[in-house]
Amino acid sequence: MAEQDEGRGKEKKFSIWDLPDVPMGQLPPHLELQRTRVLCNKDAPIHTESIQYSGAYSSIGVDNSVRLDNFCNNFRVEVIQLNEDDMVFDMIGIDAAIANSFRRILIAEVPTMAIEKVLIANNTSVVQDEVLAHRLGLVPIRVDPRLFDYMSENDQPNEKNTVVFKLHVNCKKGSPRITVKSDELKWLPNGSELVKESTANSDSSSKPETYTYFSCSQESVPEFVKNPIAPKYPDIILAKLGPGQEIELEAHAVKGIGKTHAKWSPVATAWYRMLPEVILLEDVKDDLAEELKSKCPVNVYDIEDIGKGKKRATVARPRSCTLCRECIRGDDWEKRVALRRVKNHFIFTIESTGALPPEVLFTEAVKILEDKCERVITELS
C-alpha cells in the first residue's frame, strides 16, 4: 500500500485498505454473512446458492477456493445419536453438493438383498399371485449384502448370489382365519427344494434338478451360523387365509440397488437439514419477550430475568428450530428476529431398514462415491 501512495505522487489520498478495521485477506462482515448463511426471510430465503467459484472475491484479494488441506483441517463430524437402526450426526465444513451426493447414494445406490423371484407352487388365498410376490419383495431381509455377488441374466442361481426362502402355510377347514406374518418365511440354506420337471430323457442321476445350483450349503459360512438369515421384522403381515386356503411358495432373494427398484433401498429414508441460527437483532423485553416465547411451537426461546422485574428473551435451543416462521410473522417482528441457516453445517439423519447398521451404510455410501471418481479417472487416462 505504501507503493501506491508514492506512485500517486505524494497526494494525500487515503486508500480504503489503510483503514484499520478492514482486515486484509478477509471478507467484510456483510459479505461473510452472504457467503456463509442463508437468510430466511418472511417471504422467501435469500443467499441460498453457495458461492463456489474460486475467483469470486478475487477483486478484493480474498481467495475463495477450498483447497484440500483447508478442507481436511476444518472438516468435523459429531455423532449426536446412534442406535441400532438410526443415527443422527453433524457434518461441519462440507458443501451442500457433496452432502447431497451422500444422501442420493444412501437412498439409491447402496446395495441390499431383496426377494426378486417367487416360485409359487400353490396359492388358493384371496391375495393374487402377483400382489403376494410384490409384498414379499418389499420385506426387508437382515443379511449383509457385502457377502454376496450380483446376479446377472446369464448367471445361474448359486449360493454366492441367491438366498432362498420358503413359505408354506395352510389354514385347515374348520379353524378360524389366520394371518400370515413374515416370520413364516423360513430360510433354506441348502438351496431350492422345488424340483424342476425335466424332460423324459434325463439320465438316472441320484439328485433331481432344482431351481438353484448350490454347490455347498450357506450354513458353511460362519457369519450365517451366528446370525441366521431371516426377515428383519417378524410381524409384517403378508396375507390372510380363510379355512381351506393354502400358500406354498419359494422366494429367491438377490442383490440389487435402489435405483432399479425401491425394495433394494437400504434406508427407510435419509435426510439432512442445515443448522438453524436464530439471532435477536435487538433486545426483546417484557411483554414482547413473553409473546415471542409463546409464539414458538418448539420452545426455541427462553425468558431470563435481568432484575428489577424486567425480562428479556434469549435463544435457548436454536437447533430445534423448524423454520415455521411464526416468530417473524406479525408486524415489526422481522427487525427483531433473524432466522438463518449455516451453509456448511449439516444435521444428517439416517434410518436404516435393518440390513446394515446406519454407520456402516454411510461408510459404504462414501466408498461408492470414491469408486465413481475412480471410474472417471481411469476412463480419462
Binding site: 474460486s54 463430524v77 459429531e78 457433496i98 447414494i105 454407520e359 466408498k367 479417472i377 480419462l380
Partner: protein, 115 residues
C-alpha cells in the same frame, strides 16, 4: 468421451454415461474450487438417458488434466470424510460405553470407577 477442439485443449466437454446428478454436482463443485478453472458446469441432455455433459474451461491447462485432478481431490475428500466419520463413531461408542459403565456401577454399589 471428450468433445473439444483439436488445437486448443484448454476447453472441453466430457460426456459420461451411467452417471447422474450424484457424481456430476460433486465434480462440478471440486472443479469450481480449482483456481485454474474459468468455467465449469454440467447438464443432463435427457432425463431418461443416464448421460451427463461436464463442461470445463481452464486458464490454459489441458481440460482433461484439470478434470482428473478434480476427481482426485474429490476422492481424497471422501477418504478424509470416511476416516473422520469412523473416528467420530468410535469415540461416540466409547464414551457411551463409559457412561453406561458409570451408571451401572453407581446403581449397583457404592464403589465407582473413576476415569
Amino acid at each position: 468421451m471428450e468433445h473439444g477442439s483439436f488445437t486448443d485443449n484448454s476447453a472441453a466437454t466430457f460426456s459420461l454415461t451411467d452417471e447422474d446428478h450424484t457424481l456430476a454436482n460433486s465434480v462440478r463443485f471440486t472443479l469450481n474450487q480449482d483456481p485454474r478453472v474459468t468455467f465449469s458446469g454440467y447438464s443432463i441432455p435427457h432425463p431418461s438417458q443416464a448421460r451427463i455433459n461436464i463442461r470445463v474451461q481452464t486458464t490454459g491447462e489441458a481440460a482433461s488434466e484439470v478434470l482428473k485432478d478434480a476427481c482426485q481431490d474429490l476422492m481424497l475428500m471422501c477418504r478424509h470424510v470416511r476416516s473422520t466419520f469412523d473416528k467420530a463413531v468410535e469415540d461416540f461408542k466409547a464414551s457411551n460405553a463409559v457412561k453406561a459403565m458409570k451408571i451401572d456401577s453407581k446403581d449397583s454399589s457404592d464403589s465407582e470407577e473413576s476415569e
